[in-house]
Symmetry: C2
Subunit: 134 residues, 2 copies
């Protein structure tokens, strides 16, 4: 039986008010709050202001990552939420971002990432070797 290691939601947001996505501090605030909305665990966050327009940012999570890249001159933002563990957390984080930016149109896709055969289990020999067992 297969199981998946992660859930990845990608969303392209169109018709966004450009003033909401132009500044690094605004997308930082947006993504930090999405982490709270999803009850996710932040490791670190990193943002960058482009000149003259747009910003980019990522939050590394214990559960994987959230990223955003913005083109305010096109009223467009691309957002990724990739989490392992409880899938509802990814949906809650993405919903927070979409609701906050109120795009006129969203192109959203959802993928399972890392599909493994549960029957094969873990690489026990390697794990034991790392633990100094063999």
């Amino acid at each position: 039986m297969a199981k998946t290691l992660g859930l990845h939601i990608i969303a392209d947001l169109y018709g966004v008010n450009p003033d909401l996505i132009d500044r690094e501090e605004d997308i930082r605030h947006l993504l930090e709050n999405s982490v709270k909305a999803g009850e996710l665990t932040k490791i670190s966050s990193h943002f960058y202001q482009f000149n003259p327009h747009g910003a980019t940012g990522v939050i590394l999570l214990a559960e994987s990552h959230i990223s955003i890249h913005t083109w305010p001159e096109h009223k467009t933002a691309t957002v990724d939420v990739f989490t392992c563990g409880d899938p509802s957390k990814a949906y809650r984080a993405m919903d927070y971002i979409i609701n906050s930016l109120s795009p006129t149109h969203v192109d959203k896709k959802v993928f399972d990432r890392g599909i493994i055969e549960d029957s094969k289990g873990k690489d026990v020999l390697w794990i034991m070797s790392k633990a100094g067992c063999c």
Copy 2:
């Protein structure tokens, strides 16, 4: 006529030698070199070591981002390369990572991100307002 703002390659790598993806310093080296292979422009890079196994990391690019999350106990790594501009750079960066990790199987998908109607052009009024023109 439509044009796309970015190209996103996602790849799940299976059957990877776990010793190649267990340590933060190894995936840092891998991703930093993929940036060079793709002739991409690094803004900043961020990595984290999980305990007991696996690591996570992202490089913010002027062109968007590269990320990796690893599960050495499952011989699995998930990799994203998302770039705007010349699409060949994304392929070269991803090819570098895949060739370096030599997985037995790869599940790879490619997406256009941010598809805009070129005929609509940019939001000129907003751009002018930001430039203090109106």
